[in-house]
């Protein structure tokens, strides 16, 4: 479904990604794990078009989408739920969701209204708070809103950047359970998480990113069993929360 070949990207003179190659198959959850500043968010930003790669190729389905603008990539089926949620705080919950469907110029009003109801059914909290300003929601609710906003574009590929960041463990668990459910409904997911154990628990495959490079890849189980990964990313402290 998605394939990155040898992507380089930089912020000014700082090179953030070096020859990143990865692929995500249809119906998979693929997880990207790595420490702070490893380049996970940058990888997602390159895929969603927020950052242009210096070199390399991005192919979605059969199409070369390298250097497409974000709007075109959304219409092509890529939804990127950014790190830190980034909801539109001074707009209502419902307006945030409707803006999620902004790219769907070919959908009728009724179709979008039906999808809105579907999101409310998935996240009843959002329905309760639909008239409230998004900025007044709790962290967990904002994450649900960001996720639902992404889904409103009817994506084929959903990219999530640290959806559990800053959430209480039980809420984080619910969010990741929802991600798994979405995959079971047929969505393809690229999941970035600092909480490697939680991510690998629901993922099919994973990549480990270190200082802008992919240093390890494999099935989620292989990575969970890998002593290097255990030492660097699966400290007991995390583990206990997630047992």
């Amino acid at each position: 479904m998605l394939r990155l070949t040898s992507i380089d990207a930089s912020y000014g003179r700082v090179q953030a990604l070096r020859r990143i190659s990865l692929h995500v198959g249809a119906g998979e959850i693929v997880s990207l794990i790595g420490a702070n500043g490893a380049g996970k968010s940058t990888t997602l930003e390159v895929i969603s078009g927020l950052i242009r790669p210096d070199s390399g190729r991005i192919v979605l389905g059969e199409q070369d989408v390298t250097s497409w603008r974000p709007g075109r990539l959304v219409r092509a089926g890529i939804a990127h739920v950014p790190e830190g949620r980034q909801v539109f705080g001074s707009l209502s919950v419902e307006d945030n969701l409707l803006l999620g469907a902004y790219s769907r110029t070919r959908s009728s009003r009724e179709e979008i209204a039906a999808d809105l109801q579907a999101q409310y059914k998935r996240f009843p909290r959002l329905h309760e708070r639909r008239r409230q300003l998004a900025g007044s929601l709790s962290g967990g609710e904002q994450q649900m809103l960001a996720l639902a906003r992404g889904l409103m574009s009817r994506p084929k590929l959903l990219m999530l950047d640290e959806p559990s960041l800053g959430l209480a463990p039980i809420i984080a668990h619910q969010v990741l359970a929802e991600v798994k459910r979405l995959r079971d409904e047929g969505l393809t997911v690229l999941l970035v998480e600092q909480n490697a154990r939680a991510a690998l628990r629901i993922a099919d495959r994973g990549y480990v990113v270190e200082t802008g490079r992919i240093v390890l890849e494999g099935t989620a189980q292989d990575l969970l069993d890998n002593p290097e990964v255990q030492r660097a990313y699966l400290g007991r402290a995390y583990g206990e929360i997630w047992e």
């Binding site: 969603s48 078009g49 927020l50 603008r69 974000p70 709007g71 959304v74 219409r75 939804a79 990127h80 950014p82 980034q86 909801v87 539109f88 705080g89 001074s90 707009l91 307006d95 409707l98 803006l99 999620g100 902004y102 790219s103 906003r149 992404g150 574009s153």
Partner: protein, 292 residues
């Protein structure tokens, strides 16, 4: 000074204030979309009045049609300004972009003086000159036109931003541009919209004001500065604040001119601007450290 006199100054202040409010709204629109203070905003006001006057004189168009033509042409000028001057430099720092708008305003003013010459152009009042007496003070029908235009424009803008998806998309761009892009909103298109709206609103202000002050190629600079003061006063980027800022500034000016001396009328706006920047830089309605 009697109460009636104060009331009189207040009423005439509201009239000029209405114009300032519309100009301030134009500043806020472009500022929200681009982070840039568009110092060519005053020239849109000048164009509104000048084109209307010229279209009536040269082509014999009726007022309403000449006004429509003026709004349309000014809107196109706004779009061209965006495409030709702002967009090619969009990766530059805001300071560079602001200087580009200053250059554009000088260019538009120069062009206007070449096309229409240096003379003042009168525009007839829309519905006569018979003053209306309200509680002892008089107000011209044209003043009511100015206030009406302000009110209607403000209401339309409010409806656009509150109820249309394009309006909400423009707000989303102002709040969080990357997140807006991830929703599929094209930032450059929203910037075009904001320039078009700002130009149209500026033209409307210029058209209703022209019968009061006359149209001339060089009225844009001062009006633009007054509108800018009003925008800062109300909180740059805040729509309701812009309207309030405009009305408050107009009233302060009129009262100041009446109570102190009309020589200081223009100075008052700048005193207000400096005071505001010192005391409360975020404006009357701006929140401190706000993100939108």
């Amino acid at each position: 000074m009697t109460a009636v006199q104060v009331w009189q100054f207040f009423l005439s202040g509201l009239t000029t204030g209405g114009t300032y409010a519309l100009i301030a709204l134009g500043f806020s629109l472009v500022y929200n979309a681009t982070g840039v203070i568009n110092f060519a905003q005053g020239e849109f006001v000048m164009l509104g009045g000048m084109i209307t006057a010229a279209a009536m004189a040269a082509w014999g168009l009726p007022l309403w049609l000449a006004a429509l033509v003026a709004v349309a042409i000014t809107t196109i000028v706004g779009l061209v300004l965006d495409r030709a001057a702002i967009r090619p430099a969009r990766h530059s720092s805001p300071v560079v972009l602001v200087i580009i708008t200053v250059g554009a305003s000088i260019f538009i003013r120069g062009l206007a003086s070449i096309i229409w010459g240096p003379d003042e152009r009168p525009l007839p009042a829309f519905s006569g000159d018979t003053p209306i007496v309200i509680l002892g003070a008089t107000i011209t029908p044209q003043s009511l036109w100015v206030l009406g235009a302000t009110l209607v424009t403000a209401l339309i803008m409010w409806a656009v931003f509150e109820y249309t998806i394009v309006g909400k998309a423009m707000r989303a761009c102002a709040i969080n541009p990357p997140a807006a892009q991830l929703c599929g909103i094209e930032l450059s298109r929203m910037v075009s919209w904001s320039f078009a709206l700002a130009a149209a609103i500026g033209a409307i202000a210029g058209i209703v004001l022209a019968p009061v002050t006359m149209a001339q190629y060089n009225v844009g600079a001062m009006l633009g500065l007054k509108g800018f003061c009003a925008a800062i006063l109300g909180g740059l980027g805040n729509g309701l604040g812009s309207i309030l800022g405009g009305l408050v500034l107009g009233v302060l000016e009129a009262l100041g001119a009446g109570l102190i001396s009309s020589q200081y009328k223009d100075a008052i706006a700048f005193i207000v601007l400096i005071a505001m920047l010192l005391i409360r830089p975020s404006g009357i309605l701006g929140r401190e450290g706000s993100d939108d």
